[in-house]
Symmetry: C2
């Protein structure tokens, strides 16, 4: 893992996407791919790809291309996807249930061990075999079960309090879906999925596209 | 809208976040904020903030700061959030239901008019007053109701076909939650929420943090 320290955040951000495309290539039985072929597929320039993947040395070979399986395995390992993560979801509303289900069905290596909720009507329910527990018992549960990741699916007003409690309980990472930026101690990894920011960007691009189209038509 | 053409994509990406923080300031009754104060809040440097917000001229004033209400209104308008958008969700699974609910409850200006599904057991259901329709009727529905945005919550294997049909039907934008990159005509705006990419980044940062912590302890 030592060489990872040198890999920039921008490259790390692109790794899941590289991995996703490599997985598709694997499924199609493709053994090797040149940076040019990869470029037309993934939409980065060939030189960007060569630059990015240089970090993982040895898989690109002049006139041969990248070894798809080797690169997939290497990137998976760099991302830590060769390990298993124990997760809990906080908030058993629609989003919490959706994320719990999504991870339950689709994400090998990421195991949801429980959902935590303050609403007494939901506590005790099971959602696809995952039990809904009382939020009051969160800290004990995290400690007893060595939970790695807390997934925050609460309202934005409760999210920071939940993040504080998860940090205190000792999770290693927080995956935040609440539309707010959280403060967590520096040793805890934090990843935000700001769904509404994405919707607002979409609104901007729709207006820009419409505007460009109208200009075109008025010419 | 003419000046928008000059605003870079990177700035656009940051606008929803600026807007979110300005909204919080409004709620707290804050009228004005300096770039330095804003910097410590939002986490961008003061010079980055000045650079970004220069695009929206006139709201920053030397020795006074930004007018919170004015800037909020301006950014909202630039993003197109002073308009209403009609949306449909494709896929009535957990994620589709979660997104429909989320938008239904929280997003003024974004109206979900229907959910489309191929599973006959779900067609005809209502999810919070939003009806689940047969996917076969999607094109007619989009045309008749002037739908602006299609939200793809299907599996990745069906997502491209859905995107093609939405494009044909005449939506202006696609909000894609399927873990795949879609191809759409250039006049259609596309925004992806790649949830699993975000989870994989989190896994990377957890391992990096753990690694750094162990190194620290071994010193």
């Amino acid at each position: 893992m030592k060489e990872n320290a040198k890999i920039s955040n921008a490259v790390i951000k692109r790794l899941p996407r590289y991995r996703r495309y490599l997985r598709e290539l694997q499924k199609k039985g493709v053994d090797k791919i040149s940076s040019n072929e990869f470029s037309s597929l993934i939409g980065y320039t060939a030189s960007q790809i060569r630059q990015d993947l240089k970090n993982f040395g040895g898989f690109g070979q002049q006139g041969y291309g990248y070894n798809v399986n080797g690169l997939y395995t290497e990137i998976s390992a760099i991302l830590g996807l060769d390990k298993e993560y124990k997760m809990i979801v906080i908030g058993a509303g629609n989003l919490g249930q959706a994320i719990a289900n999504y991870t339950y069905y689709y994400k090998a290596g990421f195991v949801v061990s429980g959902i935590f909720e303050i609403n007494p009507r939901l506590i005790g329910m099971r959602i696809n075999d995952i039990q809904v527990f009382d939020y009051e018992n969160l800290v004990d549960f995290v400690e007893l079960n060595n939970i790695d990741i807390g997934i925050i699916c609460t309202t934005k007003d409760n999210a920071q309090e939940v993040a504080d409690r998860l940090s205190f309980a000792g999770v290693k990472g927080i995956w935040n879906f609440a539309p707010v930026d959280l403060e967590v101690p520096s040793h805890i990894a934090l990843e935000n999925v700001h769904i509404s920011d994405s919707l607002h960007s979409l609104a901007y691009h729709i207006n820009k596209s419409q505007h460009a189209k109208e200009e075109q038509e008025n010419k």
